[in-house]
């Protein structure tokens, strides 16, 4: 064995203790015991960068990837989906049920970063990092996902659209851990889609991201239910409530979709930054809303034969 000759140079992490609990209870105890001095580690694709930059300096890093409950993808038509918060993106898009029943969430997971990032990054981590531009969050919003949070005081279910409170901040209190997402079973003739705008082809952070899910009543050519989520156009991911309601009960038509797009634009409150101006982002919100709703509708139609 060879000893390390140097401490790692300028960008070495500060000294940390590494813990690897095997159950949620163990993890919660550790997080509660150390409070601000502990941070959960999942894929590390956000946390390790923050540790390296000195933005966070917890003494304890609590690896939650070895907790079975947080690594499972459990789906049934009867009960819907329980998606462990620590499942890496790659396992999501390699899962046949995810691709078939939740294609929008799956394609969002397949868009984060690169394949290297997707081997490690998780949907739970994507949400807990609290970026308004997180790719999987609008798709989760569109699906009406609930977040099961476990803490020293017990458990609670938080609607995903309420999870982020400000850039980088979430509703998680000291000692609390996001354990899994609970997503309803896909209704007949329903589907979802996620699209984002980035200046390059891959690797960028979303300038605008839109997730949409629709349930169709094909006997009447109507959209019975719809949900639209937006990324990168506000301080948190946004549930475009009025845009979603603008689609419910309406005839499937270009005019209906256009109305929803206009409401989505109104729901957005983007800023000017180096990735785009507010005006550009509002415009793209409209474009992507039209496209994701259209894509979700097209997919929802074709599920009639496949389920």
């Amino acid at each position: 064995m060879i000893n390390s000759p140097a401490p790692g140079g300028l960008w070495a992490l500060h000294a940390i203790n590494y813990e690897s609990p095997k159950t949620v209870d163990e993890a919660v105890k550790l997080l509660a015991a150390h409070g601000e001095q502990a941070r959960p580690l999942c894929g590390g694709t956000d946390l390790i960068i923050q540790l390296r930059a000195g933005v966070r300096r917890p003494e304890y890093v609590v690896d939650i990837k070895n907790i079975r409950e947080m690594r499972r993808i459990e789906f049934s038509m009867q009960h819907g989906l329980r998606l462990g918060a620590a499942v890496p993106c790659v396992e999501i898009y390699e899962n046949g049920d995810m691709r078939k029943y939740y294609p929008g969430l799956t394609e969002a997971a397949h868009l984060i970063g690169s394949l290297q990032i997707q081997s490690r990054a998780s949907v739970g981590g994507n949400l807990c990092n609290g970026s308004p531009a997180a790719d999987t969050t609008p798709a989760l919003i569109a699906l009406g996902a609930k977040c099961r949070v476990v803490g020293p005081g017990g458990e609670r279910l938080v609607p995903v659209e309420d999870f982020c409170t400000a850039p980088g901040r979430t509703v998680l209190q000291a000692g609390e851990l996001l354990v899994e997402f609970q997503i309803p079973s896909p209704a007949r003739n329903s589907s979802d889609a996620y699209l984002r705008f980035i200046p390059r082809n891959e690797m960028d952070i979303a300038v605008v991201g839109v997730g949409a899910s629709v349930t169709l009543d094909l006997s009447d050519e109507r959209i019975s239910e719809a949900r639209i989520g937006l990324a990168a156009v506000g301080p948190t991911p946004i549930f475009a409530r009025e845009a979603s309601q603008a689609l419910s009960g309406k005839r499937i038509s270009d005019e209906t979709v256009e109305r929803a797009a206009q409401f989505a634009i109104a729901a957005a409150s983007p800023i000017d930054d180096m990735r785009g101006t507010a005006e550009f982002r509002r415009h793209i919100t409209g474009v992507l809303t039209r496209r994701t709703v259209a894509k979700a509708i097209e997919r929802a139609r074709s599920t009639q034969t496949s389920r």
Binding site: N3, A6, A15, Y18, T45, I48, V61, Q116, E202
Partner: protein, 188 residues
Amino acid sequence: MAKKVVVEATINGEQTEFLCEPRQSLLEALRDVLELTGSKEGCLTGDCGACTVIVDGRPLCSCLMLSVEAQGKTIQTIEGLAQPEGLHVLQQKFLEHASLQCGICTPGFLMSAKALLDHNPKPTEGEIRYALAGNLCRCTGYDKIVRAVADAAQTLASGTRKGSAGRLGSGPSASEQTEQFLQEQEVK
């Protein structure tokens, strides 16, 4: 502050044991502890892919994984790509197609390409580019890298070591063009 930890992992087919601090990344453990310096440090933020290794069959950035997380894992690095019989087909094609200049991105590209072909032996050009999107190159402009991977895929699929210039376009590979040029010079 934190004590060193013993980590056991299978690295390039060999059972390996090494000592490291929890704060060291896998990249640091590979380079500084195990002296496997083939994996490169480019950005330390998971953007450039120069540190790409394959862990339990999946490509990832070793700069964004803690060394202690390697416990019990199976890791392939660039050092394990060539076999006793010779270079891997991917390496051979990179040479034939002149897919490197300074070479610092090359180990990362080769590992990403290997992971791609292990999962998808017949990738389209689009799939190759997507799979390599997490690897940056400042020298080559990527074209020759993509051709080499396509050629390697074709060669591996056909079971022969000789391939063609790759499915991307017709025409000879870079080394075949050089060959041709030199022959023309001789004729003159």
